[in-house]
Symmetry: C2
Subunit: 649 residues, 2 copies
């Protein structure tokens, strides 16, 4: 039965070399091979089974997660996996666990040495994005050479840290450092939370799980925790003293380590988030694309089969831009890896010149790619019609587990405002001779970008990357300039920034879309082997750009970057491009090389045998354990048997 | 403690009469009183408690639902509630149950007479929107005077009907009627599924639940079911013979009852969906608005409290248009009730003239309001920051339980295409002298709408309803005309419609937005008592229109309905309107009169004591039953105790 391939006909239509495309997607042949090997390793191991996950109670789900984490640990050691391999393996296990955070880059060496399980306790019940608003205190006691960690208010309770609730033995706690009567702002402290003998919380520590989160499986495998301190004492040397120190006498000393170093870590973390966004988006798109080829609705002629929904232009116009976005985010993620390496190298040479631009760029890309991905997963679910609402479509869980990405490591709106601030600064310095660098370099061509006119006359003119690029650059630049102009009318710049913030967000988005598109074009300038591979990527690149142009037509037209007529031509070209994507769609999602285990979707399974599997999966629901449901005798039968006592109803 | 009101200061700021606004929202004083009484009745009854819902296993959740349904039934009879009161009570129980469908208008009399529990079995595993594609057969056997109901394929399995899986004893089954060798298309048949003695499925019937759906509580309280028939025989008189009949001899006879009657029911059902959309949207907005006034982030000056997030323009620009939409949908829903009454009256007088327009209008409004509401619930969740991701914020469950509305009773995209088809027909008849009626009447002013120019010169000009209305009419009309023009270039009209369908969707949306806005204006032309009430509604009406104008700026500008400059002025006016909404925001959501029970949200609770309640709720999670989690000994301790055997990691 499983030898059947309902997509065989679709796969025959492909006009490019799938194996080469897989390598492009993975980034390199080596990445591809590791990823493929780890995915199969996980998929073939019964301990990592996850098809029953949404039916488990919270407790059982959590226990299952502990079991998988321990098993992954065991396999990693047994197989002597490299750090990269281990990372891949954990990501294919696809179940959020305390180990995701525990094995976080910076924490790792300490965790290994100390035989502990650690987490980061930063956010508080009443304080999220604004780290400077944290309330937990760490007061130095010179008499005992200790810090006293304390939660002075309810809102100062630590809240959200992953792994904190039930598993972590230690935490890096962020707290206001107080020496004498002075508040030195927020610093990190290592605090033991639980006994290493019996795992019970230490005196003065109140710790627990914060409760159920979105979805039935999703992030409920993680013990996001709460934590309160009642005057907990720790030795002075458990303050993280890389940036500042407290002496034995209680003197606060700033080190000369540049504070900018922290931005390096931010660039790293956000780079991985962009890369994960492309993975999550690709996963949703893969499911929706495959099922759109299986599913048929309407259009039957002479009693023949109905039309595959993927053949409808309404379906294509919603789905193919997301497919294109998956590739676009993949390539910008790859470029961010390079950027991180570049920043690291410069930091080591004490060159901080590119840091603000790199920081703004990664903040913007984190925000933009995760917001698009979150919305896109839900859009893919809708593209699967009614069956997308079933948990075993994989999409509800994917959505529920993905969306926190829009909030953590910087709320997406807060991050875009940071980008906008950087853009306004860059604009304000244009006259001063300071040359904008990196992803803002285009702003250096201010005069040209304010004057240029799009020269598109026919639909096919919209296929030239240089033409689209100029339109995107002009749009982004003119929106920034318009904001700057409006800002200058306010006597109080901060008030103006706040008042105009909705417009500033739009300017920041325009800038971020430009970055993604321009990095895609750079990718296409590289040598890309394989029959038809580059051609497909070019088509998707145009789809990516032109769908944005249509979506934000108001931006382009009101800034006079293009005329209404040119907008209509772009739309016409877009329709033609969809027809070119159509025969390759199934193979373009095959290139993601996802196993059925990882996809976790009946609708997206490789061979397309969807209906058979939906039917089989249904019987696994606990409600089907008995033919007559629990509660029938107490609550249903009496209704059926009673005589109506009132006619009024 | 609960006497505290953290929102007291906000409530003092209101510039209008709250009690009168509550009546406006409810539609009448009588509606308000019934609604208020039923809401309190449910909220005060411990059986209807729902705060632990997301933590229940599927089986326990289902049993809890049966219990609540039986209790609601009991209370309705004991209190001799009217049909309207009973409907309200069930809606405040706020847990999808088989009774929602069983008590459906049309089924009701039969259900009472027969002492059965019924459901509608229409959609099939392989067939959703396209009813004509159903595969289940009902073959007449003249020898026994019976129909033989059969599922010939796997894809013909009935799939999705609510209440079917575990509870219903009977179903109205939609199947292809076959007499002799002839297929007469799809008709309805009443089929008994389960024994009335012991609830076991009858011979030839396979029935069960289709499995877990989106979310942890949400629609998992409902036993959406699957159903297969193996040559099940039913007497001939169990065919629903209102529209067509089969005689004793097996002759198929179409009755002379007009088929249009079915549209009357559609108008009714979709009207209730629009009304429910305003309720769901209002609920999400209420939660997000109240929490936005409690939550503070950044902006602390001189160590004072941080800024309430509701004071940020970014928050206002996302939240207030949704608040305005809730009111707008409420009023258009009210108007649809009138439309349904009007249609019913005409049908009784055999006047079918307004039916196509009424049908297109309700289809479009169902599609538009539910799509907006689904997206808005998720937007409200994001507006609550990290805590919105907790189940007890109420928003994850509200989202999960709401989104199927976009699919059932007509997929939203399919419905919009029906609207577009009607618009194209209307346009094509403009020259013929046939006058467009009802919500398309504006198209009768074709010449004016193609020529008119918006006369806005200053931001405040955008406060005139007539100015905005003309811009919306011109935009909708010109988009329809542009589609019609492009369609005329295709030699095959169906091919053209399919090729241009993405543009046609946009034209249909423009038309629907116009309907909502124009009905809001009509509402404002009525007498609305109460200090400041009308004024607030006028402000919200302008917010509704101008935020759409900004969102769809490309439409307005490329069709030359407004200039880019006028678009910028609208945006400027919109910001001023947000400032006017701000002091009234909390009271405007108080007007929905939702109990804390119904809201089901810690973040949205009436008195704003959010952090205390979040903290208390956390401890109720089953993971917190023990300090040391289940699984610690097996899966965590070994990791902590083992010595590292490899340095390679």
């Amino acid at each position: 039965m499983e030898a059947l391939d309902y997509h065989a006909e679709e796969r025959r239509k492909a006009e490019f070399d799938l194996e080469e495309m897989k390598i492009v997607w993975a980034g390199s042949r080596q990445n591809y091979e590791i990823s493929d090997r780890m995915a199969r390793l996980v998929a073939s191991d019964p301990v990592f089974r996850k098809d029953n996950r949404t039916m488990l109670s919270r407790k059982d789900l959590f226990k299952d997660t502990l079991r998988k984490a321990a098993h992954a640990w065991k396999r990693i050691i047994e197989l002597r996996l490299s750090e990269e391999e281990a990372h891949m393996l954990r990501s294919y296990v696809d179940q959020p666990a305390f180990t995701d955070l525990h094995w976080h880059e910076k924490w790792l060496p300490m965790a290994y040495k100390m035989q502990i399980i650690g987490c980061y306790a930063q956010t508080e019940l009443g304080h999220g994005s604004n780290v400077q608003g944290l309330e937990t205190t760490a007061t130095f006691d010179p008499q005992t050479d200790e810090f006293v960690i304390h939660s002075p208010t309810l809102t100062s309770s630590k809240w959200w840290p992953g792994g904190l609730g039930k598993v972590s033995t230690h935490a890096v706690v962020y707290a206001r450092l107080i020496t004498g009567a002075q508040d030195h702002g927020v610093h990190g402290f290592i605090v033991q939370l639980r006994s290493l003998d019996d795992h019970s919380p230490l005196p003065g520590i109140t710790v627990g799980d914060i409760g159920m989160k979105f979805g039935s499986g999703a992030y409920n495998s993680m013990d996001n925790g709460l934590l309160r301190f009642d005057h907990v004492r720790i030795p002075r040397n458990q303050m993280l003293m890389r940036v500042s120190q407290v002496t034995r006498e209680g003197k606060f000393v700033q080190s000369d380590v540049p504070r900018q170093l922290v931005y390096g870590t931010m660039v790293y973390v956000r780079q991985t988030i962009v890369s994960d966004a492309s993975c999550a988006l690709a996963r949703a798109v893969c499911i929706a694309t495959r099922y759109s080829a299986v599913r048929r609705q309407f259009g039957s002629q002479n009693g023949g089969p109905e039309t595959q929904v993927i053949d409808y232009k309404t379906q294509q116009s919603r789905l193919f831009p997301l497919l294109a976005s998956a590739y676009a985010f993949r390539f910008v993620g790859e470029w961010l890896k390079w950027l991180y390496a570049d920043v690291t190298q410069r930091l080591q040479a004490n060159d901080f010149s590119t840091l603000p631009e790199a920081h703004a760029c990664t903040a913007g890309l984190k925000s933009m790619t995760t917001s698009v991905t979150a919305d896109a997963i839900e859009e893919c679910r809708k593209l699967c019609g009614g069956h997308g609402y079933l948990s075993n479509s994989g999409l509800p869980e994917l959505f529920a587990v993905y969306i926190p990405t829009c909030t953590y490591e910087g709320d997406n709106v807060v991050l875009l405002l940071q980008v906008a601030r950087f853009l306004m600064k860059t604009v304000s310095q244009l006259g001063s001779g300071k040359k904008p660098v990196g992803t803002t370099a285009y702003m250096g061509r201010a005069e040209h970008l304010m004057q240029c006119r799009c020269e598109v006359e026919r639909a096919e003119d919209w296929l030239k990357p240089s033409v689209i690029l100029e339109a995107f650059e002009a749009r982004a630049f003119r929106m920034s300039i318009a904001c700057a102009k409006n800002l200058s009318k306010f006597s109080n710049p901060e008030g103006g920034f706040s008042e105009l913030s909705p417009d500033l967000l739009e300017a920041a988005i325009a800038h971020c879309q430009l970055i993604v598109f321009s990095k895609y074009i750079e990718k296409l300038q590289q040598d890309i082997p394989g029959k038809g591979v580059k051609r497909q990527l070019e088509i998707l690149c145009n789809v990516y750009a032109l769908h944005l142009l249509h979506k934000h037509l108001g931006d382009f037209v009101t800034t006079s970057c293009i005329t209404p007529k040119q907008g209509a031509l772009a739309n016409e070209q877009l329709r033609l491009l969809y027809s070119q994507v159509r025969p390759n769609a199934i193979t373009l999602v095959d290139a993601f090389n996802y196993t059925d285990h990882y996809l976790g979707s009946v609708l997206g399974c490789y061979n397309g045998n969807v209906y058979q599997r939906l039917y089989e999966e249904a019987w696994k629901d606990p409600l089907n354990d008995t033919v007559v449901p629990d509660g029938y005798l107490e609550y249903v039968r009496p209704i059926l048997k009673q005589h109506i006592r009132t006619a009024r109803l």
